[in-house]
Symmetry: C2
Subunit: 333 residues, 2 copies
């Protein structure tokens, strides 16, 4: 689509699918769902709207080479590695810089590690969002039609264009009744709108968005003093309050979106045996039920266990209770 540039944000850390994913091969490189890796799918589903010449990736310095290898059709200069992790605020700013070195294209930002069940419906939604972004002074957000009162996502009020943080369950239920949508981290706007918003709301980040971005040699010095801040906090919360006459427009989407947030996704997308176990690879189960068993290296034998996640790779074995998956992050401290 002429005048549209896509930027894939690929800065995942790989903790929630460890050891299948690792800091060296985070979630976006996983290929468990649908054969292709999640980042490969993220690029492919833009087909027709943004081809390789119009697609960019902002990732970490350490993952740049692996990303180029995974997406060989992209020009190497379209894959930029951030020198350090500073959350999505700086990443979006840098993305605007590299994707819009000239002119005033519409730039869209998309996570690299989400799953979308219907790419065709996604593209139809995105077309609407691009059209809306092109004519206005808004940052357009694709809001996902929620299927349950999730507490793991932020929400967006489609009428007021207001962002709200991850709620507790009671709030989430109220949000659903009120017609709020999930914030899936997809932002679409003209480059000039992004730049103006950054200057107004997060001037420290605005330099990264300058046409042509920042040279690779200067990136380290540019990132070092930056705070870790998400684009939601740095910019969207302010814009949604009408700062500088800018606004948020919400395009609802219903295309089978899933953030593939952790091992629970296996229960969602994989078939189960008669005892409710999901098995991949050589997994044997005796008197065991409700387990997720993924054998990528040594075979796994389960005896008398319930509701566990058991994963083997050549280097590591994870044995976690499904109800304690949120504690996995303590393994990485």
């Amino acid at each position: 689509m002429k005048g549209f540039k896509a930027v894939i944000l690929a800065g995942g850390s790989g903790e929630r699918f460890w050891p299948l994913s690792t800091p060296e091969r985070p979630k976006q490189f996983l290929s468990v769902f649908g054969g292709e890796s999640l980042i490969r799918q993220s690029v492919s589903r833009l087909g027709g709207l943004a081809g390789p010449g119009d697609t960019f990736v902002v990732t970490s310095h350490a993952l740049a080479a692996a990303t180029v290898a995974e997406l060989p059709e992209l020009d190497r200069s379209h894959v930029v590695g951030e020198p350090m992790r500073r959350d999505t605020g700086p990443a979006v700013a840098l993305g605007v810089g590299i994707a819009a070195p000239e002119g005033d294209p519409v730039v869209g930002f998309f996570p690299s590690d989400h799953l979308i069940g219907s790419p065709a419906r996604f593209r139809a939604t995105l077309r609407k969002a691009i059209a809306l972004a092109r004519k206005g002074e808004s940052i357009v957000v694709i809001g996902i039609m929620p299927s349950y009162p999730a507490t793991a996502f932020g929400y967006v009020d489609p009428v007021k264009g207001r962002f709200v943080e991850k709620p507790d369950l009671a709030k989430a239920k109220r949000y659903l009744k009120a017609g709020y949508l999930w914030n899936a981290g997809m932002f679409i706007a003209r480059a000039s709108v992004f730049r103006r918003a950054l200057e107004l709301c997060a001037p420290a980040l605005a330099g990264l968005a300058a046409p042509g971005g920042v040279s690779v040699r200067a990136l380290g010095a540019a990132y070092e003093p930056l705070p870790r801040i998400s684009f939601d906090y740095a910019v969207m919360e302010h814009v949604s309050r009408g700062v500088g006459g800018l606004g948020v427009a919400v395009v609802p989407g219903d295309f089978g979106w899933d953030d593939v947030g952790g091992y629970g996704a296996f229960d969602k997308y994989y078939p189960h045996d008669a005892d409710g176990n999901v098995r991949e690879g050589e997994c044997r189960a005796v008197d065991s039920s409700g387990n997720i068993c993924v054998a990528r290296a040594a075979s796994i034998s389960l005896v008398g266990v319930k509701n566990l996640v058991v994963v083997t790779t050549r280097d590591a074995v994870l044995v976690a209770d499904k109800s304690h998956l949120s504690e996995m992050k303590r393994l990485f401290k």
Copy 2:
């Protein structure tokens, strides 16, 4: 000790310590307790009573080479591999044949995969047993002083010399009150007494006990028609009823005996961390307690799990609930 020959019975199948032990490296080759392998310890603790020239091993054909490698001081001809598994009845008969090709020595049979805390006390007990065997018409049994009402062992009544099978808990408690001892599968008698007992009680096995045993070439044909039968059932139960004027004599022993029956032994012999986990190798635990974690290959990370046995080798991972360890045998059907 002059006129004494020791036969180590080493026919284990390796199921209860799988995957640390395997059919190719069953329990007697494990070295988890005390550094040396259990079979190595079994031979070493006979030192002073039976040296290499007086020590024999009956194992399976498949394990003969590994056994010779583990016990290089033994003459190769002292390690005999049974062509098929027929339980301890035929193994004892064959052991008498190879250990007593001439004369009428006292022959003692010992399991290869048990643990003995005090080898010195064991040897003192064994000396008594050998002396008793030398002068009499009895098969001498070393009865272990029980430390709890075990249901996993057979018992022997030391007064009547009677054998009783593995009891339920109520019976086991009665046996303890009555002064019964554990049957640890150690039998000591003159070769001539073993031979007479076999002829009277299990004539099908008597040929194996002929002086010099059976040639290796003839073993296959000799074993093929034999039933699977333990020495306890084939011979000791009859002898304990006075068949042919033979009898059973019981020498009590208290030398820290343990049959190392399964992973529970790790809880018994290894130190625990503050959360009651036993860890060997690279094991991390988050909010996890009461686990036995043995990492021989890939590292193990436990998250929110309790009372599991988790073992990794290069080829296999076991995740079993401690209360379901008896079901492990279903993995091998």
